[in-house]
Amino acid sequence: MTNLAQLFFDAASLGGLYAMAALGIALIFGVMNLVNFAHGEYIAFCVFALIVPSTDAVAVMLLGRAPALLLVPLVLSLGAAIAIASEYAVFRHLRRADPVAMMISSFALGFVIRNALLAIYGGRPKAISLWPELNTPVAIVGADVPLLQLIVILTTLLVVAGLAGLLKKTRLGLEMRAAAENFTMARLLGVKANVVITGAFALSGALAAAVALIMATQTGVADVRMGGQIMLVAFIATVIGGLGSLPGAVAAGFLIGAASVLLQAFLPLDARPFRDAFLYSLVIVCLLVRPQGLFVPASAKPRV
């Protein structure tokens, strides 16, 4: 029983992280058919923004020293800012390009950001301590759950609910949903392309920042590569969730988190190091079974 509860919390918190990252990618894909490979680097950027720029092994907190009440909105706006900036500098000039060119340019942009971080902060992972008290375990239904896991799960729910509310209840949300379904038609009804796209990038960047804060607290490490792995998973989640479908991205994020935790728990010991290989094989199987995505109603037209 204890084990099961533990597994549940592990799966839900990992899945929540994946879901948030996947939402960030799906939002942008939805409005402009861009598969944004730079998303992982937005995450890394936000983590590094917490510390003083230097190549020393010991990290000195910069933004990270600010009280949470200030820190959280600050980092979220920083994430939004870098996403908006990248749209302005790169993707705005590629609106009429085909999705492949956009995808590759986002790959290039990610490469640029990653190497800029490497140049400024050095390649070695640094230990950072952001809200270390959150890693103290609390006992819930017989499982020792780090407080942070609970916070992650709660945050995910809050973020997803907040985003859903924003999309459902606000003018921008309505325009974004309309644009995600049929951008040209939305524009023919007077929806401004720039507003919607900038809005999507801002939200996506803020989501990356939320993921960054959670990862930094959870792992206690600032590493340039930390965005890459989660970006890959998130990217896969958006595809198996059905490209452009936000609920699909969330569901698939949780699904991958759960699959990953379950594989880790139930694979034979010898096979555990190869967990990701099994995970990605499952992904390929998923794609083969439902290329249009797991959570897309059968009536939906393929977008790509």
């Binding site: 340019s105 290039a108 490469f111 190497n115 890959l232 595809v239 190869f274 290989a277 990605y280 794609l287």
Partner: protein
């Protein structure tokens, strides 16, 4: 008198001639300059030509972006290491190899061929599944494939050495060997592109629906091109290993995926000439920037770019090319010889061939 059609075909076959001549000129220049560091750079650039041309055989003809080719590269590189390393060092570093592989000590050339064949076989199997998909889903699946290969090679301690590097590969790949393979890849790519399968595949790239409607079996042609493509990509992996002498799974992950796609895209994804141009130009740019990072002395004053600016500038260059010339520098056109056979208007036949 050769018909217009035959002339076009001949002109199409002149492309590999021009490209090989350019590469040969490049190698001769390196030989004349007699600079050791330059020769090494040239060899690496030519290995990349093999890689990118290999990648182009699939991506250029099918229009499907593959993020998985670094996986085929890793498969080729490790295969060549298994076949050519001394049994004693294999016993030490890779103790779990099966006995027949442990004792194998092949000459380098058959080992390279075998590496290509293994990569091609894996491509046949993985492609049989992945190529059922199309568009972005297919690209994601290739990414998943890359992640699978990377996970396996990074953790299979007794067979791949996992994350500790495999060392001691014979460094036989100099600029001549690399030139020979690059030329072979270019010729094969051109032959494939002008074969019935290649032409059919490119028709699907232009218009998938119409091509399907006209009875083109897209799946078969895509699979076939992936197999050929993986063969040369696998060989390029083997060549890379035998050029630097050390293997590590992470050398065949996102970094090389990025750089090979960058070269392809900058040169122009639509043509073989674009693939080769992209490699040469970006290799040249990388070399210049690396040297600039080390410091250049101009009139007594030393300038050095901050380290890391090489990668940043390559990324920026790529974005700029994509914005200004989305079809790449060659715009999808091939370098061709203009045959000087005068065009005589055909008075009898209708001029249906253009």
């Amino acid at each position: 008198m050769p018909s217009q059609h035959a002339q076009n075909r001949l002109a199409a076959y002149s492309t590999p001639l021009i490209l090989s001549a350019v590469l040969l000129a490049f190698v001769l220049l390196v030989v004349v300059l007699d600079d050791k560091a330059l020769a090494r750079t040239a060899a690496e650039a030519l290995v990349r030509v093999t890689l990118v041309v290999g990648l182009w055989i699939f991506v250029g003809n099918s229009g499907v972006i593959s993020f998985g080719h670094a996986g085929y590269m890793a498969i080729g590189a490790y295969c060549s290491a298994w076949l050519t390393l001394k049994p004693q060092s294999k016993a030490l570093f890779l103790p779990d190899l099966p006995p027949w592989l442990m004792d194998a000590q092949w000459p380098v050339f058959p080992a390279a061929i075998a590496s290509g064949l293994l990569a091609a076989l894996v491509a046949l199997l993985s492609g049989a599944a992945i190529l059922r998909l199309s568009g972005i889903a297919a690209s994601i699946a290739t990414f998943a494939f890359l992640a699978i290969v990377n996970t396996v090679y990074s953790n299979w301690e007794g067979v791949t050495g996992a994350t500790s590097s495999v060392v001691g590969l014979a460094r036989y790949v100099d600029h001549w060997v690399a030139l020979a393979w690059a030329t072979a890849a270019i010729v094969a790519a051109n032959l494939y592109a002008n074969s019935a399968s290649g032409l059919a595949l490119r028709a699907t790239r232009e218009d998938e629906v119409a091509a399907r409607a006209s009875g083109i079996d897209m799946y078969r042609h895509r699979l076939w091109s992936l197999v050929i493509s993986a063969f040369f990509t696998g060989i390029s992996g083997a060549l890379l290993g035998h050029s630097i002498g050390v293997l590590n799974p992470d050398s065949f992950y996102l970094g090389i995926t990025f750089i090979s796609l960058a070269m392809l895209v900058v040169g122009g994804i639509g043509s073989l000439s674009g693939a080769v141009t992209g490699v040469l130009l970006l290799s040249l740019l990388i070399e210049l920037l690396v040297r600039a990072e080390r410091g250049i002395t101009v009139g007594g004053a030393e300038f050095a770019l901050p380290s890391g600016s090489q990668e940043i500038l390559i990324g920026v260059a790529m974005i700029v090319v994509l914005i200004l010339r989305p079809a790449g520098l060659t715009g999808g056109r091939e370098f061709k010889l203009r045959l000087s056979v005068p065009r005589i208007p055909l008075s009898q036949e209708p001029t249906s061939t253009n």
